[in-house]
């Protein structure tokens, strides 16, 4: 098996801050994006993920802090050189709905200075890989969410960027479409060394990232590999199989202060012990023998971290 190459940072940000009037959307973030890896930003709605991504992409100027990368480029002084090296795709990213798929791709290609045979070749290759040959002559407006998303990804990849930004790229896309999308992202990172920065609400997608940063109220409160993040909950997650009336059991356990969270996953009831609560407390509930320790999912980690949010903070959403 190949040893992975040593981590080299493609982009480095220090003291990154962004204010909108009196509101501080991002406060004093330090982040290193390793080359050739898939890096995920997680956090609740309105936590500052998109603002951070937009600053790293050069679409929004920071109020304070510095971003450098690609071997010495400073985003503040060489914004155009920066932007040429990256691709950007967001859920809200607008293809021109009144143009055909083909016209959209030709247009975005020409913006990046591609033309003629090389542009046509790249469009062909991407249409092949992302399976949208059959709609190339259709108006973009008539496409399903999943197809539009694949075309938008193709538009972001046409100029073969070193760094790809994906801002909630798979919202509203069905599971098969999400799989196809992620297969390609992985291939690009593994085979071509492309670096990917992604925000997502799907924790199964986050689980596939090499590295994650969890943003809450504009600050990074946890980061590391998915396995590292999950170790925060080690020994605190328990699972009980409930045969009848799972909801009554849920309603009984939920208010107990020994649990940070209790929820249903099908017929299984999953409970996270509050930090500092004793495991013996499980036995006192009469659940001994029924409850077994379970492996936390990244979603469990997300919910646990998001609960650290200051009371009333969601009002700023």
């Amino acid at each position: 098996m190949n040893t992975p190459p040593p981590m080299e940072n493609l982009v480095t940000a220090r003291g990154l801050t962004r204010r909108f009037g009196a509101f501080v959307a991002v406060r004093n973030i330090d982040v290193d994006i390793p080359r050739g890896r898939v890096f995920g930003f997680l956090g609740p709605n309105g936590s500052g993920k998109s603002t951070t991504i937009r600053m790293l992409a050069g679409l929004l100027a920071p109020s304070a802090g510095r971003i450098t990368g690609f071997g010495g480029i400073d985003i503040a002084t060489e914004t155009d050189a920066w932007k040429r090296r990256l691709g950007y795709m967001s859920q809200k990213f607008s293809l021109y709905l009144d143009l055909t798929v083909e016209e959209n791709l030709r247009f975005f290609g020409s913006v990046y200075g591609l033309r003629g045979g090389s542009l046509a070749g790249r469009i062909d290759a991407l249409a092949d890989r992302l399976r949208f040959h059959h709609v190339r002559r259709m108006l973009t407006e008539g496409l399903s969410t999943g197809l539009r998303q694949r075309v938008a990804l193709a538009a972001a990849l046409l100029h073969q960027p070193e760094l790809l930004f994906l801002d909630e790229p798979t919202g509203g896309v069905d599971p098969a479409g999400r799989r196809m999308f992620w297969d390609l992202i992985y291939e690009l990172a593994a085979d071509r060394g492309m670096t990917v920065l992604v925000t997502t609400h799907y924790m199964d997608e986050a689980e596939q990232c090499d590295r994650l940063a969890f943003i809450l109220d504009g600050a990074i409160i946890a980061d590391g590999s998915p396995t590292t993040l999950k170790s925060h909950l080690a020994g605190r997650l328990f699972e009980v199989e409930v045969a009848h009336d799972a909801f009554t059991t849920l309603a009984t356990l939920r208010p107990l202060s020994m649990f940070e969270d209790v929820y249903l996953a099908g017929r299984r009831l999953r409970a996270v012990l509050a930090a500092g609560a004793e495991r013996e407390a499980i036995a006192r509930l009469g659940l001994q023998g029924l409850a077994r320790e379970a492996e936390p999912s990244l979603e469990d980690v997300f919910v646990s971290l998001a609960r650290k949010r200051a009371p009333g903070a969601e009002e700023a959403a």
């Binding site: 609740p44 098969a176 291939e187 396995t227 969601e314």
Partner: protein, 298 residues
């Protein structure tokens, strides 16, 4: 159990597109029924037919014992420039809910979803999760017997999603009939029954256990840090039909139902490179991947 929603040979055409191609499906009172399927499978069309917002091209859908239904659509459809309270007040008026009843019910429902602190906020200024909770409250205001939810948690963060589902579980527990479509397979695990829809046809229907039991292939899970390289190696094995990424794990699907043979083949191929190899039962996501491949879609 009596049927609340009974669809028989339901066909819906839009121009030359056949959104539903002869759907027969029965949903009983008190069920939490999940409708799954890829984009364009006909899920939203089915919702609209049940809600009588569309008339079928042929066949019929009979809804029994439902005085009013609630609908939580995929897209937020309340007034963004009205406050939470104003939106609910308007809806109560439109549906003829008496003022006193509406006031009491609004207070109770908003408290249940944790929106009572935000009554005077403009709906447009709510977060994605809060908007969906408001849409749910609005749909419940008329005390429906049937609640239709069309991908209600798309774009909602995991905390709000979990809170939203605890509410749906509670409503189900209280006896409400719920029909929900979702792209999240873990949400489908909550359902009493599940149906897979593809290009306007039903490809599977049953309880979670029934659906999983009908999965026709062997499945092996492999954990490894080097997923991409391993995936290619496994996909090239003669007995292997598909290798899918599941987080940090790979799900390897055999060409037959012979689990022992598949396990042996995978073990031999990975040698000592891998932390963990074991035979597993399929999840609903495996079933979804499988069904997605069975129909050659355009």
């Amino acid at each position: 159990m009596s049927a609340m929603v009974e669809a028989t040979d339901l066909v819906m055409r839009f121009g030359t597109t056949q959104a539903l191609q002869g759907l027969t499906l029965s949903i009983a009172r008190g069920e939490l029924f999940a409708l799954l399927g890829p984009d364009g499978a006909g899920k939203s069309t089915f919702f609209r037919l049940v809600a009588r917002l569309l008339t079928p091209s042929s066949g019929r859908v009979q809804v029994t014992g439902v005085r009013t239904f609630g609908l939580v659509p995929q897209r937020f459809s309340l007034y963004e420039d009205l406050t939470v309270d104003e939106n609910l007040h308007l809806r109560a008026r439109l549906y003829g809910v008496p003022d006193a009843v509406a006031t009491a019910r609004t207070a109770d429902l908003l408290a249940r979803v944790g929106l009572d602190r935000f009554r005077s906020r403009l709906a447009g200024a709510l977060s994605g999760g809060m908007k969906q909770k408001l849409a749910l409250v609005s749909a419940l205001l008329t005390q429906p017997e049937l609640l239709l939810l069309d991908e209600p948690t798309t774009g909602v963060d995991p905390v709000s999603r979990r809170e939203f589902w605890i509410l749906l579980n509670q409503l189900h527990h209280e006896g409400l009939t719920l029909l929900v479509s979702t792209p999240y397979m873990d949400e489908a695990e909550y359902a009493s029954r599940v149906a897979f829809l593809d290009v306007g046809r039903l490809t599977a229907v049953g309880t979670r256990d029934e659906i999983v039991a009908a999965y026709p292939r062997a499945l092996v899970e492999v954990r490894s840090h080097d997923r991409m390289q391993l995936r290619r190696r496994l996909a090239a094995l003669p007995g292997v039909d598909d290798v899918s990424l599941f987080g940090t794990r790979l799900h390897v699907r055999g060409r037959s139902a012979d689990g022992q043979a598949l396990l042996a083949e995978v073990r031999q191929a990975v040698g000592g490179l891998v932390d963990d190899v074991r035979a597993i039962a399929p999840s609903l996501e495996d079933v979804f991947v499988w069904h997605g491949e069975q129909d050659a879609r355009p």
